[in-house]
């Protein structure tokens, strides 16, 4: 079984994230890492592969630094990696990213499952897996909190708003997983050493046959006019409970007309 897992390199959420002058996310000036939500995708891919004698190919689209996300996935245990990197990709929106991912998945070929995270921790759109399935023309099983893989089909549990749903689809398919699904492993020392010898391929847009005018900032189907840091909330009153904290809280809520 061949599993492709899509991972994104993102700015660290606990750092001061910011935007560049062209309103794109600053990916160079802020420390980046493998999107934490994609660790669950890598872990699930590794578990499925272990149970079904499979191989795991990591796929990332992003600038030079994105190679770190691929490397961490290899350290966790993936077998090989593909990094799509091209100057022209700068500023791509989800629509363009899904196009590039789809072409890369096709080029990797012969896949049974493409595993994604539920959302990236920077854009947090949670739409790329659905777009990817749309473009590949294969079933989507998304926001899975539990997955079982059988010969040729996948069954998943998802905790939707109004109900818990069980979904069934046949392979090949696109799967996205939530942070409820597993406990991602830490790379072991052996994993870290072993990753150095694993194959990493670097592909350009030309390698994928994607026209440069279909991607990047200029080709985005939406435009950002302005970006503003949200004014920090000014801290209000903080009292220390000396036995009347609850009454003080009630006073405040009454003042603000919540009672």
């Amino acid at each position: 079984m061949k599993i492709v897992v899509c991972v994104k390199h993102v700015p660290d959420a606990t750092a001061q994230r910011r935007f560049d002058a062209d309103h794109t996310v600053d990916r160079a000036g802020v420390d980046g890492l493998l999107s934490e939500l994609d660790e669950y995708a890598v872990e699930e891919a590794l578990q499925i592969a272990a149970a079904h004698d499979g191989e795991v190919v990591v796929l990332t689209v992003g600038p030079d630094q994105a190679a770190d996300a691929a490397r961490k996935s290899l350290q966790m245990g993936a077998d090989s990696a593909v990094h799509v990197v091209d100057e022209q990709l700068h500023g791509s929106d989800a629509i363009a990213t899904s196009l590039v991912l789809a072409e890369a998945v096709r080029k990797i070929g012969d896949y049974d499952i493409v595993v994604c995270g539920m959302a990236s921790t920077d854009g947090a759109m949670g739409v790329v897996p659905a777009m990817l399935a749309e473009r590949l023309g294969v079933p989507q099983v998304t926001f899975a909190a539990e997955v079982s893989v059988d010969s040729g089909s996948v069954t998943a549990r998802r905790d939707a708003d109004l109900a818990t749903e069980t979904i069934e689809a046949s392979m090949p398919l696109v799967l996205s997983v939530t942070d409820q699904i597993n406990e991602p492993r830490y790379p072991s020392f052996k994993g870290i050493m072993g990753a150095k010898k694993k194959p990493v391929q670097t592909w350009s847009l030309a390698d994928l046959g994607v026209d440069a005018d279909q991607v990047g900032l200029a080709a985005a189907w939406s435009v950002v006019h302005s970006v503003a840091a949200r004014p920090p909330r000014s801290q209000g009153v903080v009292v220390t409970d000396d036995g009347a904290g609850g009454r003080q809280l009630a006073d405040y809520l009454a003042e603000q007309k919540f009672i």
Partner: protein, 319 residues
């Protein structure tokens, strides 16, 4: 005036509040048309018309509910091609987001997610305000290609009534074989708590690891305030409260009038789900907890003392 499609969010015809918000926004952009998928229109009609639906498109076929996302996306894309609306507004549920994503790809249209405001720009087309990076930034954007597909967060506007014409039209949907590829084989409805729905509630009282697993003080305060109950991921991961109540990056985003965080430290992933609340109150025994950076009012203290006292006082005042 141009037509604005609104994808209705409902449970068997019970229209959710977000839909009335989207209809209110749609009226400021053009003529709202409600797109109603599934059964239950008899229960939904009155609300849709009251909030301004001039047209109600009825899409009812088992395919649309037996299979997730894909048939809905096909049907909505067909409707977009036919009606040529000026924009499509979609609620911010995971499923509707994915429908929006696929409609964007199918119709060659730009997609904007996490909008907290939508208004008519200089050319009449919609301009959005989005909240990004865990609410740390706001971004103004618009769509430059195709039909603007906009996913709008709950509580973005106050819904206002203004009756629409409510002309109904049944739309025949042609769903492809390929769309029937991921079947829902089982649906177990969630047990209702009897409290307001988390994302719609005007007040949310949340508990974290600091509850030590006992949510009774949190629930009692919530009930005194008529509030919904929320939980941090630490509380959910410990099995103290169901996942559907989790607030934050990988849970629900709430934007209530009042958010009360008790025994919650205020990690960035939690803030991502509640930072846009109008008023924030915290109870935490650690004066250094980051949640206090956000608060309008905070109590440094043990929630096991503070919450019951506040609850008792509130009940007393309400008489």
């Amino acid at each position: 005036m141009s037509e604005i499609l609104v994808l209705v969010d409902h449970a068997d015809g019970a229209v959710r509040k977000t839909t009335t918000e989207l209809l209110t926004i749609a009226r400021s952009l053009g003529e709202p048309s409600a797109v109603f998928v599934g059964a239950g229109i008899d229960a939904a009609r009155e609300t849709l018309v009251a909030y301004g639906a001039d047209t109600i498109y009825l899409l009812d076929s088992a395919d649309l509910t037996d299979y997730l996302v894909v048939p809905q996306a096909e049907a909505l894309a067909q409707l977009v091609d036919r009606a040529a609306p000026a924009a499509v507004l979609v609620p911010s549920t995971p499923e509707a987001r994915e429908v929006a994503a696929r409609v964007a790809v199918k119709t060659g249209s730009g997609l904007i997610t996490d909008a907290v405001d939508v208004r008519a720009g200089a050319d009449g087309g919609p301009v959005t305000t989005q909240s990004v990076f865990a609410g740390g930034y706001t971004v103004e954007a618009s769509v430059t290609r195709g039909t603007p597909i906009i996913v709008v967060k709950p509580n973005s506007v106050t819904p206002e009534q203004s009756p629409g014409a409510g002309v109904e039209e049944t739309v025949e949907v042609a769903v492809s074989e390929a769309a029937r590829s991921a079947r829902v084989v089982k649906r177990e409805p969630r047990t209702k708590s009897g409290r307001p729905e988390l994302t719609e509630a005007a007040i949310v009282v949340s508990g974290g690891r600091g509850t030590g697993g006992d949510f009774s003080d949190v629930e009692a305060l919530a009930d005194a305030l008529g509030a919904a109950v929320g939980a941090s991921r630490a509380a959910v991961d410990s099995g103290w409260y169901p996942h559907s109540y989790q607030v934050g990056q990988t849970g629900k985003t709430v934007s209530p009038q009042l958010y009360v965080a008790s025994g919650i430290s205020g990690a960035i992933q939690h803030r991502a789900g509640m930072q846009t609340a109008k008023t924030i109150v915290a109870v935490n025994k650690d004066a250094e907890a980051p949640i206090f950076e956000l608060v309008d009012f905070g109590v440094v203290g043990d929630l096991k003392q503070v919450l019951p006292q506040a609850t008792e006082e509130i009940i007393k005042r309400k008489g």
